[in-house]
């Protein structure tokens, strides 16, 4: 008998009588003021959040907020005149020196401040984690109230890797003192396009 068979047999023998799944369809948020709610929550997490009318105003904000002398990468073709486009085929280690990564999220969640990204919008899986500063563009109409609507949008999901990111990387492991920038980005900035 293989270990697999042994474990499965023990599970079958010991599991109790089947109980039903609960109905979770009543869990949903409200759709009012989602942009404001999102911005309020994101600021409490420790990230700046800006409203912009167009991608051009985002460009202006990026010029103001980041050190343009360092390596800045993006997956957005609209920004490729200024910044390096991320290649999906090079060794991920080669992105160790990126200062800023500018990527577009599929949507964000008002209740917790997180943005939803899949590898398709990351360019490479490592990008939003290895950069020193992460900048994410979200369209206002894509913001959902809670994670329940988020998973409705995601569905079963046709991706190899996806993730919610809700702020700059952080730790409070030393005496509960909050430090932003543990292993991932030191800051995360969100630009909401109205």
């Amino acid at each position: 008998m293989t270990t697999r068979e042994k474990i499965l047999e023990a599970v079958l023998k010991n599991q109790p009588e089947a109980t039903a799944l609960p109905d979770t369809s009543m869990f949903k948020g409200t759709g009012n003021d989602l942009v404001q709610k999102y911005m309020d929550i994101f600021k409490t997490i420790g990230g700046p959040c800006f409203l912009a009318d167009t991608i051009d105003s985002v460009k202006t904000l990026i010029n103001e907020k980041f050190d343009l002398s360092k390596r800045i990468v993006t997956t957005l073709p609209e920004l490729s005149d200024r910044f390096e486009l991320i290649s999906g085929t090079v060794d991920p280690h080669s992105y160790n020196d990126i200062e800023v990564a500018i990527i577009k999220a599929h949507f964000s969640v008002a209740e917790n401040g997180a943005v939803w990204l899949t590898e398709e919008v990351m360019g490479q899986r490592i990008i939003p984690y290895i950069c020193q500063h992460l900048a994410v563009i979200v369209y206002a109409e894509s913001i959902v109230p809670t994670l329940h609507e988020a998973y409705e949008k995601i569905g079963t999901g046709d991706y190899g890797f996806g993730g919610f990111i809700g702020g700059p990387s952080k730790t409070a492991d030393i005496e509960q003192a909050l430090v932003l920038g543990a292993h991932g980005p030191l800051t995360m900035t969100v630009f909401i396009i109205n």
Binding site: V11, I126, I130, I154, D173, Q176, G181, H183
Partner: protein, 461 residues
């Protein structure tokens, strides 16, 4: 990190509470996290319904585990993930070793995984010439100090920053006396980034595994799991069988509960959904039993398998806060550890269900509504019946049973107690009486309530 237990919870807690300043700090720091949890929870009007739903989903998982395991395995394979099954900690460690050996890898980076702590994976691999580095900051600190984590979410919460500064001075060459948390974190960031960049293999734990899609979710605040995984050519995930959830949409329920319960955050910074290997990467997942199917067969204790490892029962527990996680001499400490550990080794962990006041605070905060304090009470009965209770407890219980079994015995014992307290108090007020150690014994009353009642009330009638 040794398996051999030398002292029980009471003795280890006794050592911890000697440093009063530290205990007070520890108590306050954990209670502060409990308060942050309360604030976060109050933002969600449907919190109680979410807990109920989560508990019911987990009941469904436990009662259909066989089917979900098969479905999960099938979907993992479709996604290109290599599946392994491990019956025991040893078998789990052998599998990890074989994966690394096949690729001639002798260095691995690991993100937080209580399961691999439970399996003593690091020691096993180190004995075979493979170096493992824990990348969660708290776990890294515990590793360089050669200590296990004292809390599942906050591994080094029992340490003061000066002690961490001293460890960094010794291991990372920081200036002596440096203890600023931000500066220490920056040093660790730099050191560990080099580890992430140079390790070909990365191992992570698993928070939730979705049977429906064959993907697994890993939650961190530091981003260490992702730094390791996305730079590795071999990615390994180790999970206990109980981490399964039926459907993707159920993540909405669990992710809303997890971080709010753990630290009062609305969500962990990173909730990463791993589904398929990167091009050129190899992905393995190890399904580990190690006592879980045995616990599944224990009717009174199987609900402990619902645990999502948020740590809220530890933060709220008056015994945990004042005795420290290491006093539980088990990877998972606190109330949840005390109901999981006796299943693994009843004799070795016989003291843990007694390390509780049974106040029930743990059950009240548990996001999946595990009846933790009921299970602690039930384990006590099992442990006494199996003959694993400490002698002093057995003797005390027998004396108590004799005293309470007849009114005459009760009167006699009361009289004797009062006489001793009044006439020769040193018989009870001495260090040989464990009850006296942290308490002052009262002055003996002249008479019992029954005697007083007979004298004053019955006479009046």
């Amino acid at each position: 990190m040794s398996q051999t237990k030398t002292k029980d919870h009471a003795a280890l807690a006794g050592a911890f509470i000697k440093d009063e300043e530290r205990v007070n700090w520890h108590d306050g720091a954990l209670w502060y996290i409990r308060e942050k949890r309360d604030l976060a929870v109050k933002q969600i009007p449907e919190w109680e319904q979410l807990r109920e739903a989560a508990s019911m989903i987990k009941s469904n998982v436990i009662s259909n585990l066989h089917q979900y395991l098969l479905q999960f395995e099938d979907n993992l394979k479709k996604n290109g993930i290599i599946v392994h099954w491990a019956d025991s900690a040893e078998e789990h460690n052998e599998i990890v070793y074989a994966i690394l050996k096949a690729k001639e890898i002798n260095q691995m980076v690991k993100s937080k995984s209580m399961l691999t702590e439970e399996c003593h994976l690091n020691e096993y691999l180190e004995e075979r010439g493979i170096e493992v580095i824990n990348s969660d900051l708290g776990e890294y600190i515990q590793q360089i100090d050669n200590e296990p984590p004292s809390h599942i979410v906050l591994p080094c919460i029992h340490k003061r920053k000066e002690e961490i500064g001293e460890l960094f001075h010794e291991h990372l060459g920081t200036e002596k006396g440096l203890s600023d948390p931000t500066l220490l974190t920056r040093v660790a960031r730099k050191h560990l980034r080099n580890i992430f960049l140079t390790r070909r293999a990365a191992l992570t734990g698993v928070n939730f595994a979705v049977a429906e899609t064959g993907e697994y979710v890993v939650c961190t605040n530091e981003g260490n799991a992702d730094m390791g995984a996305h730079l590795s050519e071999v990615q390994i995930a180790s999970m206990g069988l109980e981490k399964l959830i039926p459907q993707k949409k159920h993540l909405g329920v669990f992710l809303r509960l997890l971080a709010r319960s753990a630290t009062g955050q609305p969500i962990t910074i990173y909730s990463s959904h791993y589904k398929k290997p990167r091009k050129g990467q190899e992905m393995h997942l190890i399904l580990v039993d190690a006592g879980r199917t045995r616990q599944l067969g224990r009717k009174d204790f199987r609900d402990s398998l619902k645990c999502i490892k948020c740590g809220s029962c530890m933060n709220t527990c008056p015994v945990y806060r004042k005795s420290g996680g290491l006093s539980y001499h088990n990877t998972i400490s606190g109330p949840i550890g005390a109901i999981l550990a006796p299943n693994l080794d009843m004799k070795r962990h016989a003291d843990l269900p007694f390390a509780s006041t049974l106040c029930g605070s743990c059950s009240n905060v548990c996001p999946v509504k595990i009846n933790i304090h009921d299970q602690l009470y039930k384990w006590r009965q099992v442990i006494v019946k199996e003959g694993y209770a400490a002698n002093t407890k057995t003797l005390g219980m027998k004396t108590m049973a004799w005293t309470l079994s007849s009114p005459a015995n009760f009167r006699k014992a009361g009289k004797a107690g009062r006489w001793f307290l009044q006439n020769i108090p040193f018989v009870v007020n001495n260090p040989f009486n464990p009850w006296y150690r942290q308490r002052d014994m009262p002055e003996g009353p002249k008479e019992s309530f029954a005697e007083w009642f007979v004298k004053n009330e019955i006479k009046k009638q």
